[in-house]
């Protein structure tokens, strides 16, 4: 099963390598990994999407916790949470197709951020379902390029 693991780490040289090395060295998968500073510039947050059975996920959490630079590990999949990902999609669209692309983008509440005579670039933010949905819809136009940030997640409410 897929899990989204949120990891607070010291914002230091080499931490990403330690985390990435842990996953590759122990044969765990990384579906996506997203890193950025938090409101405290000495702390970064990594959001890692991975998959595995419960035993593997438990090991991943424990092994992450063992890294000295890791401050906190949370499997947000177990909590009520919100996930978002930003995706930029460049689709083939000439003048005749533009309106149809625009229509789809509006339905999904995306944005057009660039247009050229033969392409349009769409910016879309959402959870996995939405991203998959719009990707499906845009496929017939020909997707020239698709760039995803990887998922970020936050637990709902005060927690």
């Amino acid at each position: 099963m897929r899990h989204t693991i949120s990891v607070l780490v010291e914002n230091r040289f080499g931490v990403l390598a330690r985390v990435a090395g842990l996953f590759s060295g122990r044969g765990y998968n990384i579906d996506s990994l997203c890193v950025g500073e938090t409101d405290d510039p000495t702390i970064s947050r990594m959001t890692i999407v991975t998959n595995g059975d419960n035993r593997i996920i438990e090991q991943i959490e424990k092994q992450l916790n063992k890294l000295i630079d890791v401050i906190k590990v949370m499997d947000v999949t177990k909590e009520d949470h919100v996930e978002r990902e930003l995706v930029l999609i460049k689709v083939g669209a000439d003048e005749a197709q533009r309106a149809r692309v625009l229509e789809i983008v509006e339905i999904f509440r995306g944005k057009i951020i660039d247009v050229s005579p033969k392409t349009m670039t769409v910016e879309i933010t959402g959870d996995e379902g939405k991203i998959n949905g719009i990707t499906e819809m845009l496929k017939p136009f020909g997707i020239k390029e698709l760039v995803r940030t990887g998922k970020v997640a936050v637990v709902r409410g005060e927690k």
């Binding site: 080499g14 330690r18 090991q59 424990k62 916790n65 000295i68 890791v70």
Partner: protein
Amino acid sequence: MKYTGAQILIEALIKEGADTIFGYPGGVLLPIFDVLYDAKINFILVRHEQGAAHAADGYSRSTNKVGVCMATSGPGATNLVTGIATAYMDSIPMVVITGQVPTTMIGNDAFQEADIIGITRPIVKHSYLLKNVADIARVVKEAFWIAKTGRPGPVLIDIPKDISTATMTNPKYPQSVDIRSYNPTCLGHPMQIKKAVSAIASSKKPVIYSGGGIMSSGAAEELQKFVDITGIPVTSTLLGLGGFPGTHPLFLGMLGMHGTKYANYAISNADLVIAVGSRFDDRVTGKVDEFAPAATVIHIDIDPSSISKNVLVHIPIVGDAKHILQQINKEAIPPKINDWTEQIEQWKKDYPLGYKKGGKLKPQFVIEKIYEVTGGNAIITTEVGQNQMWAAQYYKFEYPRSFLSSGGLGTMGYGFPAAIGAQVANPDMVVFDIAGDGSFQMNIQELATAIQYNLPVNVAILNNHNLGMVRQWQELFFNKRYSYTSMAVQPDFVKVAEAYGAEGIRVETEEEVVPALKSAIDSKKPVVLDFWVEEEENVFPMVPAGASLTQMLEGMA
């Protein structure tokens, strides 16, 4: 006053209680070596950096202090790698200092540059690349703290040359460590302790399975007390040997691949397994699905990631073994297990450890005599292979930290430099490296180190003229196709010893064994004992890799 980074580094090491560094010089270390020239710290110049790492490891295992080793950038640092991995796998606290090219040149493929932080990332508990002279004192303090607390392990500090030469005024040496992301658990959770106590009280066939964690946490006394209260028999992993007295009537010896039959039967029939500071390694469990199939498992371990990693644990207790055993001892109720201990006694009588007498000198006989002559009052290190297993089976380890062996990594070449490190730390102890003729040759150059520092270590080579353990597997599982395991071409070890200025004694008969051992112990010099033993002797019992612990091959019949 102004101090250089090199001065601060050495001062910080001294402040952490380091009295000895095992190491080897090189270009980027020159500023540090210049400080070492008249520093109040003992420096042991090894002959190969791998020797420095293993010696620091042996120093640490024999004392519970943090071992320190040092090597130059590039090849010096890469030569340490096997020693670091060995310490990591066995959770040995070590601080490893490597020189690095100047910060301005890092990443340029400079002369003798190696990304040692990157290379060692999976085999260190933590590592630091120093980029500022002002960080040195704090980093050294943290490195020692991280190395020895929680689940211990090696910590590497990479120090670029320009950081060693940089200066600062009035460096501050911190009094305490504050790492917000690192707070190892010490005490066991009271609820879990209660559950364990009740499982113990109602058990009918309990077994304690103790490991190296007994040594790391200094829990031998507590373990003994736990056994005094409960009367539960104890089996041990390789690294756990010495954690419980080898002569105790409730001791079952080692379990696992080359464990005693009675230990393996006991664990396989147990209804309760109490694992203390052990990690269910595959050499211990055999086929995991059939390991202690009927047992409830209590697992006491400092490392949460060891719990339920290989074997499902019913009552995990995370924390320091010493504290947890103290907590349990306060409440423990002895179970009624007379039938069980009688059964185990019967297994001990029916399936004793043994070997066929007669013919050439037997390696097991040599170990028995080393035990008799030393009376268990010695530090025994081993190499890897048959020598290691026979040492574990036939020597009775009475005290914690009297048995030093590379368990997790299984590093040939470990034993001799580790013996040197142990002898440095324990100048008055008798130290033996029980070796194979293959393994000893992997770090034989350290004879010069032993001579230089007047270290009277003894090497007992169980010379079977073979890479014996591999030969054994070829005999048993590869149709006796002895592919590249003969060591028929080997140096005359007696002459080699003499060439280095040590003593060498060749022994070929049983009668010569004890006199040779006595003369080695009496000698003030390092002594290499070259025991020419039966070449085709095998280690039994043996559980083939991946088989259940009850499926033991036996050589006696």
